[in-house]
């Protein structure tokens, strides 16, 4: 659009040329809008980045940020030697792998099924139902899950017992069941919501392709395989790559609500560990070192992801 306006018709006020001072003065009101924004980013985004230096100090509140003694790489050495670190790192990665392997395909399948529903009102109804959990706090979702899965009073165990005669299962307090419930709860909350981008991509597929496939005698399944799936391939690829970029993040709110002291061997992730050990035991420097490790790996991941996207010919994230 912008390229279509001949340069000589662009009004004086919007020209991109002129001396630096003239342009600064011309746009002074725009800069005045940005002033609080820049202050916000400096104070609440960049200052904490500077605060990461306490990972290299023995930080104490009384001594302050600058007054605390330097500790070199001591905390990182402690970190890499501690069993805790490898445990929370493993858990962080494992929970991400579970969510990726089991959670990622669900919205795709749901979107494919929804796309085949011919009655528009029914499709919309199902969509509206599926989106609900996305808007509900993890506190509520976790509370409901814990109540329903309780071994003594939960409806799930009571039913299992009545119907199959199975002994109560400690779903939320058993180290093998907990990751399953974690993954399922994530699917419960986000699977429906995750269909939106796929459905939008499917809506953009040319209907003539389906007509052509029908004439060639392709049944529904073959139409899905040969028309719908290729049509959403790039959406799948982008979302998959983006998901890979956040392999170091585990939803803190979700994990905190679902975890309890008896499953910490599988449920303790970097963020909950930092919260518990850092803030409860005031091990500020040590846990900042873990946090810094997480941030740096996260940064490397996202940069690599962006490179992959750009190499594959799509528009990058930045």
């Amino acid at each position: 659009m912008k390229g279509m306006i001949p340069v000589d018709q662009v009004p004086v006020g919007t020209k991109k040329n002129g001396t630096i001072t003239k342009r600064l003065i011309r746009d002074k009101y725009l800069y005045s809008m940005l002033l609080p924004v820049i202050v916000f980013y400096i104070v609440f985004k960049y200052l904490p980045m500077g605060g990461e230096i306490i990972a290299f100090k023995d930080y104490r509140f009384a001594d302050g940020l600058l007054g605390s003694k330097w500790a070199g790489l001591k905390h990182f050495e402690l970190l890499f030697e501690s069993a805790d670190f490898w445990r929370v790192l493993r858990n962080t990665l494992l929970l991400n792998v579970y969510s990726l392997v089991f959670g990622f395909p669900v919205p795709i399948v749901l979107a494919l099924l929804l796309n085949e529903v011919r009655r528009e009102w029914y499709k919309r109804l199902v969509q509206n139902f599926l989106y609900v959990p996305h808007f509900i706090s993890w506190v509520v979702l976790g509370g409901i899950l814990v109540a329903m899965l309780s071994p003594s009073t939960g409806i799930v165990n009571l039913l299992l017992n009545k119907v199959f005669g199975i002994d109560p299962i400690y779903f939320m307090a058993n180290s093998s069941w907990w990751p399953v419930m974690y993954t399922l709860s994530g699917i419960w909350r986000e699977a429906g919501w995750g269909t939106i981008l796929y459905l939008a991509a499917m809506a953009a597929i040319d209907t003539q392709l389906y007509e052509a496939a029908k004439i060639d005698g392709a049944n529904k399944l073959r139409q899905i395989w040969h028309v719908t799936l290729p049509g959403i391939r790039s959406t799948i690829a982008i979302l998959l790559i983006l998901r890979m970029g956040s392999m170091m993040d585990v939803g803190l709110e979700q994990t905190l609500v679902l975890q309890n002291s008896s499953v910490l061997d599988v449920a303790d992730v970097i963020s909950t560990y930092v919260y518990r050990v850092g803030l409860q035991n005031m091990n500020y420097s040590y846990t900042t070192a873990i946090g810094l490790f997480q941030s740096i790996v996260g940064l490397i991941l996202i940069i690599s992801v962006n490179r992959v996207i750009k190499v594959s010919g799509e528009r990058g994230l930045w």
Binding site: M33, V37, G51, E116, L130, V140, G192, L197, V274
Partner: protein, 301 residues
């Protein structure tokens, strides 16, 4: 065409049967998604005895409103709900104002230093600083126990800001240019011309922000120690996590022990119902705008 007509009836009803199975499956799936909420609602009107013995499945058993009565009498939950409404209202307002103030200038290609500013902002999405430095910052700024500890660090969601910027870049430039020729300043153009055009995206992003505020509990747990300032979700969290709470909440250790009495299931269920009712009331409106917001956001990628 002849060949197609000649096909057996079997070929005709097979796709229809498939469609019916598909519809049935999706129906069951969506009911399964909603069942836990339904169960909680039924439980909240049942006796605690009926809940713990597993008699409640679809409808209240031994119907009563005792749980709601006790929550009303206690009043705590409603104080916290009032706090949540305040936090949500002011927080969302601040978010929207700041998001617009960032997005509008940055949507102007003519702005000197625009790409440097964009890089300055984008970097904060890539390198996310840890919990401890943020906690220490809030403490140093003296924001503890004030709602500013929630609002200030979350003034702008960079992702939402980029969604807004993308939307503004898509507005026709001619309108603005004619206003500029008429001598209107940037502030006036923003308020009188741009803002009305941005209504759909402002609504969508307000809802994004508001739901986030309504559901937030972690920052409240970190920064708001005073019991009478705590929000609905934190109260609910404490109610649900009462057993483990004194282990998990360093800030309110003594309180955790005090609350370690078990709350009856029916009261928990009633509190959950009260907490999600406002969201469900605005839900039809909410999800329409949310979907719009997601789709605008995805254009940029």
């Amino acid at each position: 065409m002849v060949a197609m007509n000649a096909r057996t009836d079997k070929k005709r009803w097979l796709p229809q049967l498939g469609g019916a199975i598909n519809a049935l499956f999706l129906g069951l799936f969506s009911l399964a998604t909603l069942y836990p909420f339904w169960y909680e609602a039924a439980a909240s009107f049942s006796s605690s005895r009926a809940i713990t013995s597993g008699e409640v499945m679809f409808w209240p058993v031994e119907f009563n409103i005792e749980a709601y009565k006790r929550l009303f009498e206690d009043g705590q939950l409603f104080i916290s709900m009032k706090n949540t409404i305040w936090v949500t209202f002011v927080g969302t307002l601040l978010n929207i104002v700041l998001t617009i103030l960032a997005a509008y200038p940055l949507s102007k290609k003519r702005l000197l230093g625009r790409s440097a500013l964009l890089m300055f902002i984008t970097f904060t999405m890539l390198f996310v600083s840890g919990l401890i430095p943020n906690f220490i910052l809030v403490k140093y700024l003296g924001l503890m126990n004030s709602y500013w500890s929630l609002w200030l660090p979350a003034l702008i969601s960079t992702y939402n800001m980029f969604v807004m910027k993308t939307f503004m870049e898509g507005l026709p430039e001619e309108i603005e240019e004619s206003a500029a020729i008429d001598g209107a300043g940037d502030w006036r153009i923003l308020v009188q011309i741009i803002m009305p055009l941005c209504k759909p995206i402002v609504v969508a992003l307000s809802l994004f922000y508001a739901v986030g505020w309504w559901n937030n509990y972690f920052q409240v747990m970190l920064y708001i120690g005073k019991s009478n300032k705590q929000t609905l979700m934190l109260k609910l969290y404490q109610m649900i996590r009462q057993v483990d709470q004194h282990l998990l909440n360093p800030a309110g250790g003594s309180e955790g022990v005090m609350q370690a009495m078990l709350t009856p299931e029916a009261i928990k269920a009633a509190a959950i119902v009260i907490a999600i009712t406002p969201i469900l009331c605005v839900y039809p409106f909410l999800q329409k705008h949310f979907v719009k917001g997601v789709l605008i956001g995805s254009v940029k990628g």
